[in-house]
């Protein structure tokens, strides 16, 4: 093939330019740490990266939700514990009163103790967390339990049965509250055959003042039923907290896995690129040296 002068110079220029382009690209990869400088560099990998980022955002949100749910449930747990203790104390008072004749003073003293307990229980029912009532269902801004001015039933519940759900995974949500109507059996919501807790305890107080030992013994059965229910709820809440613990660990694991996969997809293998960079620089230097050599060769040097 006939080789003309522009072919030689053109070819050398073109090769040097191609090398420079490759060098530049490698430099860009090193400085950005990313393998792909634009999605078109690797469309399938770019799509996967978008999906993985999406996953990470979701996982982070679920982890947040799990923490919030755990906090809420722990609060409920503590309150149910308080409630359980109060009910036990009431039971103790009932046992005392059922055990025999008491003086009017003792009766009055027990009745006052019971009144205090009832008040404490109502306070527990109206407890707030972060400024919102825990046992009010959805009506978290209003005080759920209030004394009934007309006397019967003794306490009115103005919350609702709302169940607050929190999403902790895809298609996985967890209820983080127990409505007051269920805990205290207002209006027989949890057990239609039973009065609500306040009514039970108020009746107990009246029975103590009346000295009706038989009725008091009867009432203890009701108190046990209330206590049982509260303990069951507490166990339920405890179970959920453990579940959430596992959830949190699992989410942490998933976050690590996806972050790792994302890095493998997007990030540049630094050691490989640095080696490539060195190789490319060598090629560049060699090409330039050859160019200098070849362009010096001409017949003109040997004529005349």
């Amino acid at each position: 093939m006939r080789v003309s002068t522009p072919m030689i110079t053109g070819h050398l220029a073109e090769r040097i330019a191609a090398n420079a382009e490759r060098l530049f690209r490698l430099q860009q990869q090193v400085s950005s740490g990313k393998r792909m400088l634009a999605p078109s560099d690797d469309p399938t990998a770019a799509a996967r990266a978008v999906e993985m980022r999406s996953s990470l955002t979701q996982i982070a949100q679920y982890a947040d939700n799990v923490e919030r749910a755990t906090q809420k449930l722990k609060t409920v747990d503590v309150l149910l514990g308080d409630l359980g203790n109060a009910i036990r104390s009431a039971r103790d008072i009932a046992l005392q009163a059922a055990n025999g004749a008491m003086s009017a003073d003792s009766q009055a003293a027990l009745a006052r103790e019971l009144d205090d307990l009832i008040r404490r229980i109502m306070e527990t029912g109206n407890a707030e967390s972060n400024g919102y009532h825990v046992f009010a269902g959805y009506k978290t801004l209003t005080v759920p339990f209030a004394t009934n001015p007309s006397g019967t039933p003794p306490v009115i519940y103005s919350g609702d049965e709302g169940q607050q759900s929190v999403e902790v995974g895809r298609d996985a949500s967890i209820v983080v509250n127990v409505p007051g109507s269920v805990v205290f059996n207002m209006g027989g919501t949890a057990n239609p055959a039973l009065d609500d807790l306040f009514t039970t305890l108020t009746e107990l107080r009246d029975q103590i003042l009346a000295g009706d030992a038989a009725a008091i013994s009867q009432q203890i059965t009701d108190i046990d039923a209330h206590l049982q229910r509260v303990l069951v709820f507490r166990a339920d809440v405890g179970g959920k907290v453990s579940q959430l613990d596992l959830c949190a660990t699992r989410l942490q694991g998933m976050h690590l896995t996806v972050t790792d996969a994302l890095s493998k997809t997007e990030d540049v293998d630094l050691s490989q690129v640095v080696v490539d960079l060195q190789t490319q620089e060598n090629i560049y230097q060699a090409t330039a040296a050859v160019a200098a050599q070849v362009s010096r060769m001409t017949l003109l040097d040997y004529l005349l």
């Binding site: 093939m1 006939r2 080789v3 003309s4 002068t5 522009p6 072919m7 053109g10 070819h11 073109e14 634009a38 999605p39 078109s40 560099d41 469309p43 399938t44 770019a46 799509a47 990266a49 978008v50 999906e51 980022r53 999406s54 955002t57 979701q58 982070a60 949100q61 947040d64 939700n65 919030r68 749910a69 400024g131 919102y132 009532h133 009010a136 269902g137 959805y138 009506k139 978290t140 801004l141 609702d160 709302g162 607050q164 759900s165 929190v166 999403e167 895809r170 949500s173 509250n177 997007e266 001409t298 017949l299 003109l300 004529l303």
Partner: protein, 463 residues
């Protein structure tokens, strides 16, 4: 037969070698001129004496009369040139398409944390956050902010895509002017070349200029060119003549009803059928590719609006309102926005499914779950965006690969052209020596004949 016949032979050699050296000089001077094709002086023997047909009374028959330059031949290969133009226009088409596509790709894909997919994700998680804090105003303000960022990004993407289209329109205007200028030049060259060839001269440098212009025209608008017997060029665009001998037909950039530029024939206003070249590549991206992406963005926006509004309308806000649209209904990707009610007061954002339930975040959760609804042909909104981005990336990748392949083809053709047409300094130098020696020999011959004649004149019959 004249006494000085021999001197004439020597003279013819001197002149011919000089001409040949001139041509070499021209080649050497133009070794770096783009589009220059090497020329060579073609030598042939002079007319023999006496001419055939006259009575051959002289001894020996016909005598040679020396050397003359028959013509200055220019290296050319019409098929190679045609092939080069074809490859050039294909490559130019894909190059301009690729350039536009790269712009489009960067508009749609942004940085990984800022693209529409990421913003959608943050929008959904803000609703999840609200569902866990339904009594909070701050959670609602956050939802509104994420929505504003998302809608702004969608609107901006549409605006930037439309800007790309406008940029192509501007480019086209400039290229139309270039095409007209080149067409006029080629037509004028056609006239000059035919005139010169009719007189038997070879207008080599004019031919070089014309080939350059034709190559440039191919790059811009994709022509099919062929030579007539008269040495003219007819250049067609989409089967209609752009240049016909000394005539040329101009094109113009006219505005279509949709606001974009259409290239039309000046003569009758019909559209020019541009099939390859830079203009074709850009037009294709403007009229087919970008509108496709804009349509997908519209579908995404419209489904986002209707799906979120449908759920939100059934919910209750912090201020007790219900039936409130979250996004302004009926908008497209170009004007999607958070509704005026929500912009005015974040309390109108509904989180509860029933009235008077401040602790109810179930509706906010429902809205967050719109994320998983298959709204667009079985795809979720996030999937639809990812699919769009993949389409853009793949199309751009394909264009880049095609450009590389065409560039490789062009390199091959150009190499063959340069091999055929390029000046080799070494070759010219060796030829120069050859002609130089011939000149010296002719000069020596001249001197010898001069001496011989001198002997004849001065020394014979001297009185």
């Amino acid at each position: 037969m004249s006494t000085f016949f021999g001197i004439n032979i020597a003279l013819s050699s001197l002149l011919a070698q000089q001409r040949a050296l001139d041509v070499i000089g021209h080649n050497v001077a133009n070794v770096n001129t783009p589009g220059y094709r090497r020329q060579e002086a073609v030598l042939r023997t002079g007319e023999p004496y006496p001419p055939a047909g006259a009575s051959a009374l002289l001894m020996g028959g016909q005598y040679g009369s020396g050397v003359e330059v028959e013509m200055i031949r220019r290296a050319q290969d019409a098929y190679l040139d045609l092939h080069a133009r074809t490859v050039t226009q294909q490559m130019a088409q894909w190059e301009s398409a690729h350039a536009a596509l790269q712009e489009v790709e960067s508009i749609i894909s942004q940085t990984p944390d800022a693209n529409l997919g990421a913003l959608l994700d943050r929008f959904w998680t803000s609703w999840q956050d609200l569902s866990a804090h339904p009594e909070e105003l701050s959670a609602r303000v956050d939802v509104r902010q994420q929505a504003i960022t998302l809608t702004e990004a969608i609107r901006r993407t549409v605006a930037e895509l439309r800007e790309t289209q406008a940029g192509i329109d501007l480019q086209l205007k400039g290229k139309v002017d270039d095409v007209n200028r080149l067409a006029a030049e080629v037509a004028s060259l056609n006239t000059q070349i035919s005139a010169a060839q009719a007189e038997g001269k070879q207008p080599n440098d004019l031919l070089d200029r014309r080939d350059q212009d034709l190559s440039e025209l191919s790059r811009l608008i994709g022509i099919t060119a062929f030579a007539t017997d008269r040495g003219d060029i007819i250049a067609n665009v989409g089967a209609r003549p752009l240049i016909q001998g000394g005539e040329w037909y101009g094109i113009e950039a006219a505005t279509r009803p949709d606001g974009h530029i259409e290239v039309r024939w000046q003569e009758d206003g019909t559209a020019v059928r541009i099939q390859t070249g830079e203009m074709a590549g850009a037009i294709n991206v403007r009229d087919t590719t970008v509108p496709n992406y804009l349509a997908q963005l519209d579908t995404l926006a419209q489904n986002l609006i209707s799906a979120v509004n449908a759920v939100h309308g059934t919910g209750y806000g912090m201020d007790g309102s219900t039936g409130v649209d979250f996004f302004t209904p009926g908008a497209t990707a170009a004007d999607i926005d958070v509704s005026a009610a929500v912009l005015a007061d974040a309390r109108a954002i509904a989180a509860a499914a029933a009235a008077d339930s401040p602790g109810d975040g179930s509706l906010a959760l429902q809205i967050a779950q719109v994320r998983d609804q298959a709204l667009i042909g079985g795809l979720t909104l996030n999937d639809a965006f990812r699919s769009l981005m993949t389409e853009v990336a793949t199309t751009t990748r394909e264009a880049a690969d095609t450009v590389a392949a065409r560039q490789q083809s062009l390199r091959q053709v150009t190499l063959r052209q340069q091999s055929l047409y390029g000046v080799s300094l070494d070759e010219e130098m060796s030829n120069m020596i050859v002609y130089q020696h011939a000149y010296e020999a002719a000069a020596r011959l001249m001197a010898t004949l001069d001496e011989m004649l001198g002997t004849l004149i001065e020394r014979t019959a001297a009185v």
